[in-house]
Symmetry: C2
Subunit: 210 residues, 2 copies
Amino acid sequence: MRPEVHWGVYLVTDRGLAGRRDIAEVVDAAAEGGVSLVQLREKTCDTRAQIRLAAALCERLRPRGVPLVVNDRVDVALASGAAGVHLGQADMPWDTARRLMGPDALIGVSVETPEQAAALEGCDIDYLGVSPIFATPTKTDAGAPWGLDGLRALRHATRHRLVAIGGISASNAAEVIRAGADAVAVVSAICAASDPRRAAEALRRAVEGG
Amino acid sequence: MRPEVHWGVYLVTDRGLAGRRDIAEVVDAAAEGGVSLVQLREKTCDTRAQIRLAAALCERLRPRGVPLVVNDRVDVALASGAAGVHLGQADMPWDTARRLMGPDALIGVSVETPEQAAALEGCDIDYLGVSPIFATPTKTDAGAPWGLDGLRALRHATRHRLVAIGGISASNAAEVIRAGADAVAVVSAICAASDPRRAAEALRRAVEGG
């Protein structure tokens, strides 16, 4: 059975932003604070280290009922027992990932334009990562922002769950939810926070107020 | 059934060395010249492009009976229908790869020391990539060379097939085979050659004379 997702707050990891802190501790604290889904995004470390980290995160998140998805790497997801993958437009096509991971895997796909979203309508995926909502310094290769109006339009155009990412913090999370997002994704708002648990709590409250 | 491998000459791709030529053309010419196994090694391009390239190579190599293995990326291998993977010591552990890829996959593992080789004895893998045999400018992160004496000692210590890599060309391939290698792996000797087919033929002849 595909894992149940509570949406709300979606954490994307960034070891660089976590500084000298153990990223597993940061993620654990964030889950305690109310994060409902975690994406492991690792672009630099080798495959074996990614598998180890993903497995360690799964172990911590499983008792909390928080699924882990792995960015890009279906091999790392399969090896570590993660719940699924998050795929960019230049990653593995979603249907290949579905074939390799089976019907129970969570699969999310990033969309940067309405055309990319339309191409995924009716596909067996679990959410669209709508990127970026606002301009952000984290992903310098991102396209033009969707904005709240673009998000609202997408909400009407698709039946998929929407995870909004890019420039979101506790101060604007509520309006992003009101514009139609099922979850707000954050990187720095939690990974760079001095207290990741409290940062997650603040986001959770903002989302529930949205 | 696990694909039959004829060993002899093992080509490791390097798009940088192929320059402006299509790497698929280089590989195809090399297979025509007598390469018996090809490893796709891509460290820079995105996952979707790697899958496309691997699938294109499989299509060209299949009629020639030359298996393709993918360096590091089990996901790319599974998605493209490649015969297997080549794993470094920092890549996925071989037993995880075997579990994900099944009994028919070809799995090779790089070893840089006798201890690493000993740890793989009795394991269900298809070959050891013995690296580097000689000092080489291609892999700057490699350990101390095995040398021909080290290769001979390993030949006596293991029952695995041995693919020797590092600093090998048509001029020294025969002695590497005589020292116990089942195949010589080359990167620049073919990828940087002006005529990859003739370069592969020269290596093939050298190996058969070894």
